[in-house]
Symmetry: C4
Subunit: 193 residues, 4 copies
């Protein structure tokens, strides 16, 4: 019951975050195609963040699936994650508005770093409340390792933005592709039980 | 369980998309009736998209009703559909802002085409995970045929917008009417089981 | 199942409508109290619409409680109701922006009339799908009568706005008070079964 | 059932309130770091309100957990609470826009006072519908006492804003910390049953 409401609230917040980002795509007053051109970087940053939030939703979904008991540490780790996710529309908008220029890419990487770290702590607080075993434990530890790799990538994206902000953009894409099919092992471990 | 959360997330996103569109109806500063006149095309495009999103919600609802197992392909086909649906407020706003002028109608048709194709792939990925039989299979195949007819109509609406953008507008309306009572056969097939 | 998702979708849409209205209360750039004064009519119109939407949510909640089978007529009556409710933020904003001036009050009354009529049709479509009996039937018929009285009041508010728009405002308040404790009889009829 | 929908609706509204606040963080047009500086007070007021709303969600969650029967008094106390919570984005935005200047802090304290009082009445109306006993009764009474302490703090924050608005800001933080781990006793009382 408690867990269902935590899922429902998180789903609600993520659904709203993913959707209000589109409000940053301001509607051009002119019907010319050229009016859409300045929107291209905004659209690309929107698509990237939509992908990230979709991945977070999918992983969050699978992670909460493993939860049997909700305690205060889990609730507050989850709220902390939602806070940093809620800033995604802002950092996405700034990055799109300024065509992926250096500072904006750095701020995006910082928010991704904070989201990633928050997810890591949420997973840790779930693991310390439950005694997972066997395949499920392996799957969660594999997901933890992936999380740490992502944090390293986001950290690398910050200095690399000084070289070329496109390099950082490519890192973001690579990380997202790494996560795109993440759930298989937890999925399998859960259905094996 | 997994399926319920997929439904809940999709419902949330569609509910938000359908509702934030109204924010494009900017409130006139004057209390004169004449201040509302420029809003008429915006209102019409809003009503059209509300109808479309209502239809997508209804069909999505019936489609997910047939799902027993959720896999990664289904999750990502669904996220892909939500992405193109999330652009509906933008293309609707541009079309309304510019009184259904040619370019805006074309972009609207392109987004409808992408939404329709995404829905088609979602249905395909659900059908390949499940072995539907009998009436339910017939109903889904009938829905697939309707989907393909819609894609043909949206494709036709693009060149026809060069003739007269109102022709494209009428095509959108005709497609929506075709979908308005779509669920009977799946509904019947499900209740017969 | 089907009914739960109809409830969830309606709840989502009503929750969003009730909440995005607050975005019309634009934040003054100055910290002076005088900066808040122009917001008073906006706040009053916001509070009135919040009350109305809260009542609609409560009644809708009780009405759907009586539903056992969902058919297409019910789905589309419900979507139709949500459409007119989704315009509430617009008519509320226009009325607040222009301090309840005549035209804006008339448009508000027209939207209320359309919402009320849509609710009436939703109730009718639910009643024709189910064969209610005894107390529950009485309760729904009582609610129907109240709905018709409201429609008469909204209709009266339109010409009366030409006399004095405050008279119409008072009618809106009186109707809302009439609905504030509406659920007792359906509640009782349901718990008696 | 009825209770589930009350939870779902409240979750939806709180999720939207907590998320649309981020729209007040307007995206700077320049990519310079200096463009972010004016956003610092806005970000701080956003973070404070996110924390408050997270606490309200957590406590509301636990409070509704104790509910067995929903009556009209509970529905309307809950709607009343949601109304004052829905004004949080406005008072947060005004306070952030004007760097926590005196008047804006007072209005924030007034809204917090109204939210706190509404929560208190919601708890009272739940307690008068149910006959709680033993640990659960103690836990709710403890929560009531905490609620009254918060109301006293918010009331004190109003005159203290005339001395220094930062003092009021610190009071808000202290109250939030007091609530951060509030659920233990209700949690324990519920799991002991």
């Amino acid at each position: 019951m408690t867990k269902n409401r935590l899922e429902a609230f998180s789903d609600g917040v993520i659904a709203i975050i993913i959707t209000i980002m589109v409000l940053e795509l301001q509607i051009p007053h002119s019907p010319d195609w050229s009016g859409l051109r300045p929107l291209i970087p905004k659209f690309l940053s929107y698509a990237l963040s939509f992908l990230y939030l979709g991945i977070y939703w999918g992983n969050h979904h699978h992670l909460l699936h493993t939860v049997k008991r909700v305690n205060s540490a889990i609730i507050w780790s989850n709220t902390n994650l939602l806070f940093w996710l809620s800033l995604v529309p802002f950092v996405t908008g700034w990055m799109g508005e300024n065509s992926f220029s250096r500072n904006t890419v750095i701020l995006y990487a910082v928010d991704m770093l904070l989201c990633g770290a928050s997810y890591y702590f949420l997973q840790k607080s779930i693991m310390s409340e439950h005694q997972f075993e066997g395949d499920l434990k392996d799957a969660l530890e594999k997901s933890n390792r992936k999380g740490i790799i992502s944090l390293v990538c986001y950290s690398a994206a910050i200095p690399l933005a000084f070289v070329n902000s496109m390099v950082s953009g490519i890192i973001f894409l690579v990380v997202s592709v790494m996560w795109l099919i993440p759930e298989k092992s937890i999925e399998k471990a859960l259905s094996d039980r």
